[in-house]
């Protein structure tokens, strides 16, 4: 009785901030698009859409993994370095530098699978450090944040690998019915993760662990297993994103692949409305968050504002997003 009454009384005030918190990302995106339609020349073209989609795909894919990690109350700083490992390993495979290839297509197949699995294994290692030794996630993943890029550079001796292998590069450059393949891949991952978070036991366990770890353990949820799995998934996502990035560039530079990715993805997650302390997460929000950040950058660039200034705006957006999250908590 009291609860219902209390709730109804609290509704009017809670509405505005509540709605903003829930749909803030969507509102911001719509505002941005309207602004661009009005002021940015040639905004409503296929080309603009493609440019933006291409640039945002890798961030979104990695950010999906990051969302799951953050939903458990963790964080994964190693994603950029794992992208570098995957991106450095793939050319070694399909160029036949590692093992001689009986058939070039076999090399491409292996290059699409093995690097992703390797990145996943490193991700699982993050989770193992965190659960086995109870190391804070920020420290545990800092290990591979530092060492991962080093591993990638050692693998390639620090050399730039340039290549032209259309079969492999389909993942970054190919089109299906005129739509970039990587965008389809990204959408598939977003939909799958959003569905899994809502509908599967694993998804609910992730949120329970992030919401109240002790309660989750006492309710029989295998907390360590859940955590190791989200870091594994984060690693797999990073590995895939690494492949896309090198495919687009037709080159692999271990120094640059995924540089700063951890920050971009955390920003996308935060802007999207996922609680950074865990327990409440939205994959679709993360997708919108990444789009917003990308679109802000594009808007500023297209209107003649230098990239350096765009960084400041990006930071401002993150502050705003976190502030909005705070409003909902009393």
């Amino acid at each position: 009785m009291i609860d219902a009454k209390h709730l109804r009384a609290a509704l009017p005030q809670a509405d505005v901030t509540g709605l903003l918190r829930r749909y803030g990302a969507l509102v911001a995106l719509v505002v941005l698009i309207l602004f661009n339609l009005a002021f940015t020349p040639n905004f409503a073209t296929w080309q603009t859409l493609n440019v933006n989609l291409t640039q945002v795909c890798a961030i979104v894919i990695v950010a999906v993994g990051m969302t799951l990690v953050i939903a458990t109350g963790g964080i994964d700083l190693s994603v950029g370095s794992l992208m570098a490992i995957s991106g450095a390993l793939a050319p070694l495979i399909f160029l036949g530098h590692l093992v001689p290839l009986p058939h070039p297509l076999l090399g491409v197949a292996l290059a699409l699978i093995v690097p992703v699995l390797v990145a996943g294994a490193f991700g699982w290692f993050n989770g193992w450090l965190i659960t086995r030794f109870r190391i804070q996630p920020i420290i545990a993943t800092l290990v591979l944040f530092i060492a991962g890029r080093g591993i990638a550079q050692v693998m390639t001796n620090g050399n730039l690998q340039v290549f032209k292998v259309p079969e492999f590069q389909f993942i970054g450059l190919g089109r299906v019915l005129g739509v970039p393949f990587q965008a389809l891949l990204m959408l598939a991952i977003v939909v799958l993760a959003a569905w899994a978070l809502q509908r599967t036991v694993f998804g609910r366990e992730i949120l329970a662990v992030g919401g109240n770890e002790r309660a989750a353990r006492l309710a029989g949820i295998p907390v360590a297993v859940v955590k190791r799995r989200v870091y594994l998934i984060s690693g797999l996502c990073a590995g895939l994103a690494g492949l896309i990035v090198i495919a687009i560039n037709s080159a692999s530079d271990a120094n640059l692949i995924g540089l700063g990715m951890e920050l971009d993805t955390i920003a996308a997650v935060a802007v999207g409305g996922t609680l950074l302390t865990g327990g409440r997460a939205t994959v679709v929000g993360t997708f919108l968050g990444a789009l917003i950040i990308q679109l802000v950058r594009y808007t500023l660039l297209a209107n003649g504002v230098p990239d350096a200034a765009a960084l400041v705006v990006k930071a401002a957006i993150i502050v705003l997003a976190v502030w909005l999250q705070r409003q909902g908590r009393t």
Binding site: M1, I2, D3, A4, H6, L7, R199, T200, V201, F202, R204, E205, L207, A208, G211, N212, R214, A215, A216, R217, L218, A219, G220, I221, P222, L275, G279, R280
Partner: protein, 514 residues
């Protein structure tokens, strides 16, 4: 000795939101006196101390300290006036030296620089007062807990304290360490420093304290020289006799639970310093109460049985087989449910809905190929909401928006939907309204009659006496009595809590008491 009080708190009142924490409470401490402050959980001891030290502001009443009326705005202000508090957890800086810790916040300076020589000398001088001689330059972490505790006390005294408050200072100490601490306390007394000593261990109170103040339900119910009170007096005063005696919704079912098969048998269990030698057993269809004062090891025992903690010694048998559950999930699989004591910290997942909280443990069974069958889930949730009369706007309402009683019902349903063989309830009716309390009590009784084994921890004596078929009493981590049938009564339980046996009653389980 000067008998005008050093501290006099009178008519103290404090409300937190709608709940009354203190009403007309008083506390008087004489100079150089060791004064025990005792009471059950929620009796108001800590609120009282927090008001004294300026952590909370009082709503009513007056505080006289050292002859003046005071109203401290912060713990720092209280400290400056000579009131120091030593908390249960040691609040020191582990990697800094002993001297640095002692002088923290009042460093000695010379020419604007830290005067290490003077600080080290001061630290040594302070520790020497307690016959502790050690290298004050070594980092604190190298010392054992008791010595760290001494450093904390030395630090408190260093502020020229007139009154030292110790909140359960012995809870992390070994027996010998406790003895050292007691010597320090006696030394303080000899130097004219007054001590307020909060502890739940009765023996300790008799070992060092001069007078005792007993609190209950936010009031001061007894002040007396401790020698004038027997342990039994202390326990009875502390637990009190609720006005509405016999008003719990339990009706003792006087059926013969001895018929039930043995479900749980715990023998000589030991974990850490809280559980030393606990034995108990529960049969199917039986409601077994676990009684004991705060800190007697009840919750810790339950956690070990449920696999949330590892036993260091002893055996546990469940449903006829040896059971040493490594994780709660193993205990759950075997058919045990555990309603934890602290709803907020260990029970609810606040951000989730009633539906999700209710089926949290059941989730793996509700899935096909890892995908939750939501129709099935909804059916179960609706059934339990109706059956337990859970008041919520809808199953999708966030659980944090529910009242305490309804949250508790959801958590109870979380286990009932697993159809467990044994349900462990840790303070199942604490902090919930009277109506929900009665409903939960009736429900528990019904479930037991249907064959469920229940192990219920409760600090409310009448709940234990009226609800249980049998009761085990713990005292300082040991099972000291087993009561049933005619021998099961409030006086018997209190006698066991006080003396370690239920005078003249069947104290079979107390045979290991030293």
């Amino acid at each position: 000795m000067d008998t005008s009080p050093l501290l006099s708190m009178r008519g103290i009142g404090k409300r937190f939101g709608g709940t009354r924490a203190l009403e007309g409470a008083s506390l008087e401490v004489r100079p150089g006196e060791i004064h025990a402050l005792i009471g059950q959980n929620g009796a108001g001891k800590s609120t009282m101390i927090k008001i004294l030290t300026g952590y909370h502001r009082r709503d009513a009443g007056e505080i006289l300290f050292d002859g003046r009326e005071v109203d401290f705005a912060s713990p720092q202000a209280a400290q400056a006036e000579g009131i120091s508090t030593i908390y249960q957890e040691i609040n020191l800086v582990p990697y800094r030296s002993v001297a640095e810790n002692i002088c923290l916040g009042r460093e000695k300076r010379r020419f604007g620089l830290l005067d290490w020589g003077a600080m080290n000398a001061e630290a040594e001088r302070l520790l020497a007062r307690f016959s502790i001689h050690l290298d004050v330059r070594q980092p604190l972490t190298r010392l054992n807990t008791a010595t760290q505790q001494m450093v904390a006390i030395a630090r408190a005294i260093g502020f020229d304290a007139k009154l030292v408050i110790m909140d359960e200072p012995t809870s992390s100490l070994h027996d010998q360490e406790v003895e050292i601490l007691f010597n320090v306390i006696r030394q303080l007394k000899a130097d004219g420093v007054a001590v307020i000593f909060v502890s739940h261990k009765l023996d300790e109170l008799y070992a060092v304290c001069d007078r005792v103040t007993v609190m209950r339900d936010g009031r001061t119910v007894k002040v007396a020289p401790i020698r004038d009170l027997s342990k039994l007096d202390l326990v009875t005063t502390m637990l009190g006799r609720a006005a509405e005696q016999g008003e719990t919704a339990f009706r003792r079912a006087r059926h013969n639970p001895a018929d039930g098969k043995e479900l749980l048998a715990v023998e000589h269990l030991a974990v850490g310093r809280k559980v030393l030698d606990v034995s108990l057993d529960v049969r199917a269809g039986e409601l077994v109460g676990l009684a004991g004062l705060l800190g007697s090891g009840r919750s810790e025992t339950a956690q070990v049985v449920f696999g949330a903690n590892r036993a260091e010694a002893g055996t546990i048998r469940f449903a006829g087989a040896p059971a040493a559950f490594a994780e709660p999930v193993d205990a759950i699989r075997a058919g045990i449910g555990f309603l934890s004591e602290d709803r907020k910290v260990e029970g609810i997942v606040a951000e989730m809905s009633v539906r999700e909280n209710l089926t949290l443990a059941l989730l793996p069974h509700l899935a096909r190929h890892g995908v939750v069958d939501e129709a099935w889930q909804k059916q179960i949730v609706d059934w339990f909401i109706a059956r337990l009369k859970i008041k919520c706007a809808s199953p999708e309402q966030k659980i944090r928006e529910l009242s305490g009683g309804n949250q508790q019902k959801v958590l109870l349903a979380r286990w009932l939907c697993m159809t467990p063989k044994l349900l462990i309830l840790d303070e199942p009716t604490r902090g919930i309204d009277v109506g929900a309390k009665a409903e939960i009590q009736v429900l528990i009784r019904e479930l037991a009659e249907q064959g469920l084994g229940v192990l219920m921890i409760s600090s409310e004596l009448e709940e234990v006496v009226e609800g249980s078929d049998r009761v085990f009493v713990l005292r300082d981590g040991r099972t000291v009595a087993q009561l049933d049938g005619e021998s099961l009564s409030e006086p018997a339980i209190m006698a066991a809590m006080a003396h370690g046996d239920a005078a003249g009653q069947d104290a079979r389980a107390g045979r290991d008491q030293a």
